[in-house]
Each structure stands twice: as structure tokens, then as C-alpha cells.
Amino acid sequence: MSHGANHMTQSEPNRRSEPLIKVKGIVKNFGAFTAVDNVDLEIYRGELFSILGASGCGKTTLLRILAGLESPSSGTVFVDGIDITNLPPYERPVNMMFQSYALFPHMTVAHNVAYGLKRDGVAKPELWKRVDEILDMVELSDLSKRKPHQLSGGQRQRVALARALVKQPKVLLLDEPLAALDKRLREQTQFELMRIQEQVGVTFVVVTHDQGEAMTLSDRIAVMDCGRFVQIGSPSRLYEFPKNRFIASFIGSVNMLAGQVVRCDGTLCTIYIPSHDSHFEVEHGEYLDKGAAIWLAVRPEKIRISQTSPTSDMPNQILGIVDDIAYTGNMSTYRVRTEAGDVLEVTHPNQSRAKDSQLVADWGDTAHLCWAPSDAVLFSE
């Protein structure tokens, strides 16, 4: 399946000895429906690991299995080398932050946070010292006597985080920790979450359906689809070396062209794209059969756009007309209609405070597009 990825050495961000969490062959069936389908996973100590996937793909179910709130139909879960598959939630060295926060409405902020320590039988002075410390860290000391319904959404989120963290679990599971916050607050909180994770050094497993959030937060991401993991890797690896078309279009946006292999020598492939009736060159580390059907994928920011024709020795040129420009401040997205009739998306940074007339190209202008052979990726169907 994968082609573009393999000529890179396996990027392995975690060479740290044993994985902290080891999940083997986890399956979860609800009646005839399989929510989690044979998942294997290794998460290392101190990592901020994200599970990314569309709604209903089984992320919460997997997290609940790790927390012990759901028992898997088959498979095993190890934490720190110990099989915890059959441990009840209250005996696991794992804490969870719920999507709904699940703050106890009849307890104050301080008592919510203290609950876990009380259940562990931590002595009073020590207990309140730790509660104060953690509330300090999430900047909620002033609100410790409030009830949850007297807090804003962001404050509740921090209470939930503090409550799960105060027990100093080996692993903190976070189910859509930022989903209930508005956009601005979410962006602030992302960095806050990273700061706290670094400070406490606890391994975080974050579930999210927001790919931007996953990219910003994570050391590594597992992309999930229909109960299975499609690819696991660092954000840059998923973005630059997606394993297949699904990943390429799920993470960021991408232009796809259908074509055939004309020639391939193991480093450089020539692809014929029928709709454009032209040839494209792609650096590809693998031998491909001549005539094989293939998808050529290139990210919008990898395409260079100009009104003047690039030198003719540049490969991968396409001529088109600017159909639409979306200005987003830091950059503009050009939608270029090619002679073949399809539309390619190209982004270009707005490096100077140009007037409209000084944009790279204007509505209706002819635009020359090109990209380097190393900037496109091939996927076989």
C-alpha cells in the first residue's frame, strides 16, 4: 500500500526502552457491531500521544477500555509491564478526563479535586497540600470554594484536568479535552495543556477529532478509521509521508491526480496523467510496475505559483486560470482551474503587505504552477 513513506528511514521518536502502555489485539464488539477492531498500540513514557479519527470511529471506546470502564471482547492491555486487562477502574494506575468533564455537581472545586486522594487514603495535611498545588498549577486557587455550575466552560475543563492529575497517574487519558471550548480558548488551552504535561511529566493519551489540535499537541498521532489504526507516527511524518490516500486527505488538504506509471527506476518515476495529457516526475523510493494505476498527491503549499512561466527545465508544470482566491491573512489560497478542467488548490504566504494588484495572481489571471519531484507523493489504489 505505502510507497512514498518507505524510502525514508523509519522515524522513531521514542527510542526509550520499554513502552509504558502496550495494547495487543484489542477488539470490542457491541452485539454484531465492532467498535474497536484488533488494535495494537505502544505508547512510551512521557509521550503526548493522540488518537485522531472521525466521529463514531471508536476513539472513546478504546479510551474507556484503557480506563477499565469497558471490558474488551478480546485482547490485552499492559501498563508498565503489568497486565491490567481485568483490573477494575479503581485499581488502575490510570486516570481519565471525561469528554463531559463529569464534575461532581454537589461538591466544591476543591472537594472534586480532593476526591481521588481521599479514596486513596492520603492523610489530610498532605492531601490538601497536593490539592492546593494542583489548583495553583491550573490557576484555579481563587475558585476552589465554588461549585461546578458556578464556573465557565474553560474553568470546568481545568478542574477536570486537575482532578485527574492530582493522583499522579502513570497515564492520563483525555477524551476530547478541548471540544467543549470555543475556538480562541481552545487554542490557548492547547498550549496550556502542553505546558502542564511537560511540567508533570505524565504520559498523556488524548482523543480528538480535530486534526489541527492533534498536530499541535502531539508527539505522535494514531489515525483511526472504523475501529482500526490506519497509521501511527509523528505529526510531520503523517503530513509529509502519509501512508495512503485516506491519511493524506484526512490530515491537511491535498490535490490528487489519477494517472499511470510510465517509467520507474526506483528513485524517479514518470507518471502520465491522462486528464492533463502530460507527464509528471515524482521522486519515489520504490520500484513500481509500468502501467500501474496510481494517485499523485501534492499539498497546496508545495506548489509554486507565478504569473511568469518557470524555466522550461523545471518538471511538473501546469498552466491554469485563477478561479478564486481565499485570503486568510497570513496566506492566500488560490483555486486554479487547469486547462484539463480540474481545480488545484495552491497556498502562498502573504509575505509583504501587497495591494491587491501585487498579489501573485488575480482573479482570471493565467497562473503557472509547478512543484519539485520530491514534493509529491504516490499512492497505489
Binding site: 481519565m96 461532581f104 455537581p105 479514596r119 464556573l151
Partner: protein
Amino acid sequence: MRGKRSLFLLSALSFGFAFLYVPMAVLIFYSFNYSKLVPVWGGFSTRWYRVLFESEEMWAALTLSLKIATVNATVATLLGALAGLTLSRAGHFKGRTLFAGMVSAPLVMPEVITGLSLLLLFITLSNLIGWPSERGMTTITIAHITFSLAYVAVIVQSRLAGVSQDLEEAAQDLGGKPFRVLIDITLPLLMPALAAGWLLAFTLSLDDLVIASFVSGPGSNTLPILIYSRIRLGLRPDINALATMIILVVSIGVFVAGWLLLRQQRLRDQEAQLATADSNGK
């Protein structure tokens, strides 16, 4: 057009209210009648209240009724809460549907049937094991518990449906063993429903004539039984006074129960509103 319609609605409403409350108003009115003949107005007086308070039989019946109601409400709340908890939190177990049906059956069972079957049960038991040796407070209380329990179970179940299971799961995740979680989280959240259930069971018991008559024995007259037996000998003004008192107590009970449920609903709505308000901008 609009005016006409609202006139119609208004008269329908007043007719409805009149239908419900005029009889009670008449009763309350005549309880202050001096005359010994109920339908003949003999001037305002609290004479019959005095007669009432001086009647030992009346006090005995009242005490018995209150005792039964209290024990009934307490036991029914306990058992009903357990049934409600099982129904809404124990997930799917074998025979759950049957259990759910059986818990709520007393709600729709005709009282005569319930009373009759309980009477037969008590007689059979008494023949077999010698207990209950006589029918009275114990048998009435047991009979009342059987149907009050159903009401409490339904109230508890509907309250728990509104409490997200996340809370209990979070408490377990934080290290609470299931029983601890029940005490720490579930019960405090159930408190309003339990209070409402207790009051409802109390009132239902205080009210009941049919079932109590089946399973009561000689000398164990509850208040409704006493009233009914006296009325059969003809209308009596002291009964009017007593009925007025009962109306007062029952209305207070129902009002408090309703208020508790309403307040709980309001709180929930408020919290939901706050939550949405918060998520729409800090």
C-alpha cells in the same frame, strides 16, 4: 375572535376547577357549621374541631395512620430506591424486563385485587406458620409498602435517567469502589428524588382506604377506615372537620413533593443553560 376564544377557554377552565374543588370547598365550609345537621347552616363555629380533638377513637386512628405512613414511607423509599437503582444502573441482567414490569405492576393493579390477594396471602401465612397472628398495623404497613415501593422506584429511576453515568464512572476512575461511589455520588444526587418519594409514599398510605380495609383487623382502624365507617351511619359534622384537616395535610404533602421535583428540574435546566452560555463565549 381572540376575545371569544379566550372567553371560552376561561369558562372551560373555571368549570374544570369548579368541578374539582367546589365539593371540597363545600365540605370545608360545612366543617365550620354549628348545626348538628350537616346540610343546615347554623352559624359559624369551630365546635366540631373541638369534638374531634376530644375523641379518643379519632386520636387512636390518627396515630395508627401516621405510624403506618411513616414506617411505610421509610421502608418503601429504601426498597424503591434499590429497585430504581437496579433498573437504571445494573445494565442488562437476566429477567430485567420481567423485574421492571413487576415493579411497576402495582401502579396499574386495581386496589381491590391488591387488597384481596394480600388478604389471602396473610390468611395462608397465618395458617401455615402462625404469622401474622392477627391483622392490624403490621399487615396494613406491609400492604402499603408493596404499592408505595412502585412509586418510589419510578421516581428514582426517572431521576437517575437525568444523572449522567459519567459521574459514577469518573468516581470509580478516581479510585472509588462501587459501594463508596453509591454513597459519595449517587445518593447525594438522588436526595431530592428520595425526599419526594418518601413524601409521596407517606401521603399514599395516609390516603388509602381500600387496601387497608382488606388487611386490617378488628380494632385497627386507620383514619380513612374510621371516617368511612362513620359516614355509613350518616353524615356527621365532626367528620367534615376531620376531612378538612386531612385535605390540608395531604395538600401540603403533595405541594412539598411537587416543589422538590420542580426545584430539581429547575436546577438541572439552569446548569444546562449555564453550560451552553459558557461554551458560547467565555
